[in-house]
Subunit: 276 residues, 2 copies
């Protein structure tokens, strides 16, 4: 299997790519080839190259018959700036592959799911830099190669479609052409480095949308590195999510094993069985 | 004239209210009476009392025939949590008064403007705590009492409807029942304490909305206390706004004299001439 890596948002360090390639070779040998697009290492301000460079690289790999998956090098910020241009340029070969990422990458995953492409939430190359990051990378690759069931978020039983989002990113999809239909989905949410008041504000926004109101329910992943709230917010992230679920009449279904960490699990957008 | 102050978001210190009352008495004597609702000083977690306490106080003052204006004590966070309940409870007397606030208060101002009430962006009681804050308070009160033209944002010439928003808050209105129609409006934007990448992300979101695409143009106020971006973002706030105006085909009209500071000017939502 051949996997292509592009960077739709922030830049990847070449050394990070080397570590991922070495890990893949050690664990999976000749079963797997990972191709890092040179665009991953470009730099323009905040981004891994200009909007047009990132769009071009994404489309080159998405429309390449020889690749089975497009893996997003890193989150950060920038996917939303190119997502519509990417969707406009996808061709036949793009339907037959998986798109794997999370965090800022959900601008693309959301838009891809909206249009019926195979989007998947899960670990990305940049995660190898975390303590214990090898496990996250191996989990992602095991899923891409073998659909390894131990890579999956453990509540997923195949009976309902699923989706996973960073809370802030989902709030920024609302009303845009990237917002997917989430009716009947188990919606898993996670967050990193946002104040509790900002998490509450995003959820207040998210539950106003009809698409989310029709979800089968919400599960909450980890909200990590939350800065101090002044004054004390007075509610935990789970209490916040339970509150907004109650207000909007959406079932709260419990925890999700996802987050900005090495334990972050795989969550398909839609049904697992529909993946190629 | 009698003005009522409520706190739809964060709590006001009683000492701040005393300073505002003293300033009003000194500058305007018996022409003006300011009534601080006791709810301003309540506290529940992040907020000036529970959602129901804040809603009740807002409606009590908005529906009071004896008040000419409802002034929002402070921004912070919380207006969006009660805005729909407030709109649902407004009665006849609520049509004949002004609603003055900014920042988080724009959740309410946006919803009020959507439904034809008289919303106004401008300084709020909490601003008296800034260095030189007396001038901001006097500006707000001069406008409420006398529609003082020197209180107005200087580009306002009465030929076009106007509106002013904190960038993050406007992004959070999109798709909700609080988003006003902005066709033909000169839209003035400002921000505080947000990273440049987050300002860019919000603008990318804002210009996707049809309502904003039909605006007469965008003016940019001050973006203050911007935390360092890693890496350097590579664009100033004005360059960011110019970029998104160009992408969406919205005229960029130059600076606006608004922001989270003592120079923040008055901007009516809609036409100045339509204010009571």
């Amino acid at each position: 299997m051949k996997i292509g890596v592009v960077a739709p948002a922030s830049r990847l360090e070449p050394e990070t790519a080397e570590r991922v390639s070495a890990l893949a070779a050690e664990r999976f040998g000749e079963r797997l080839a990972i191709q890092f697009h040179p665009q991953c290492f470009e730099s323009e301000g905040h981004f891994a190259g200009s909007d047009s460079a990132r769009t071009k690289a994404f489309l080159e790999f998405a429309n390449d018959e020889g690749l089975s998956a497009v893996w997003f090098a890193r989150g950060g910020y920038g996917s939303g700036r190119i997502a519509q241009a990417v969707l406009d340029g996808l061709k036949q070969a793009a339907w037959r592959k998986l798109y794997l990422g999370y965090s800022d990458g959900a601008f693309l995953l959301g838009g891809l799911h909206r249009h019926g492409f195979h989007a998947v939430h899960g670990p990305i190359p940049h995660d190898i830099r975390r303590d214990g990051g090898d496990a996250a990378i191996a989990r992602a690759l095991s899923f891409l190669l073998d659909r390894a069931s131990e890579s999956l978020e453990p509540s997923i039983d195949g009976t309902k479609p699923t989706a996973a989002f960073n809370i802030t990113i989902l709030s920024h999809l609302i009303g845009s052409g990237l917002m997917p239909e989430l009716s009947g989905h188990v919606l898993m949410l996670e967050e990193v480095s946002e104040h509790l008041y900002a998490i509450d504000r995003s959820l207040c926004h998210i539950v106003t949308t009809e698409s989310v109101k029709r979800a089968a329910g919400i599960r909450l992943g980890r909200c990590s590195d939350v800065p101090p709230n002044d004054p004390e917010f007075g509610q935990t992230p789970e209490e916040i999510v339970r509150h907004w679920c109650r207000v909007a009449g959406i079932p709260f279904l419990g925890p999700a094993d996802i987050g900005h960490d090495v334990d972050n699990k795989i969550v398909p957008f839609g049904f697992l069985k529909d993946l190629p």
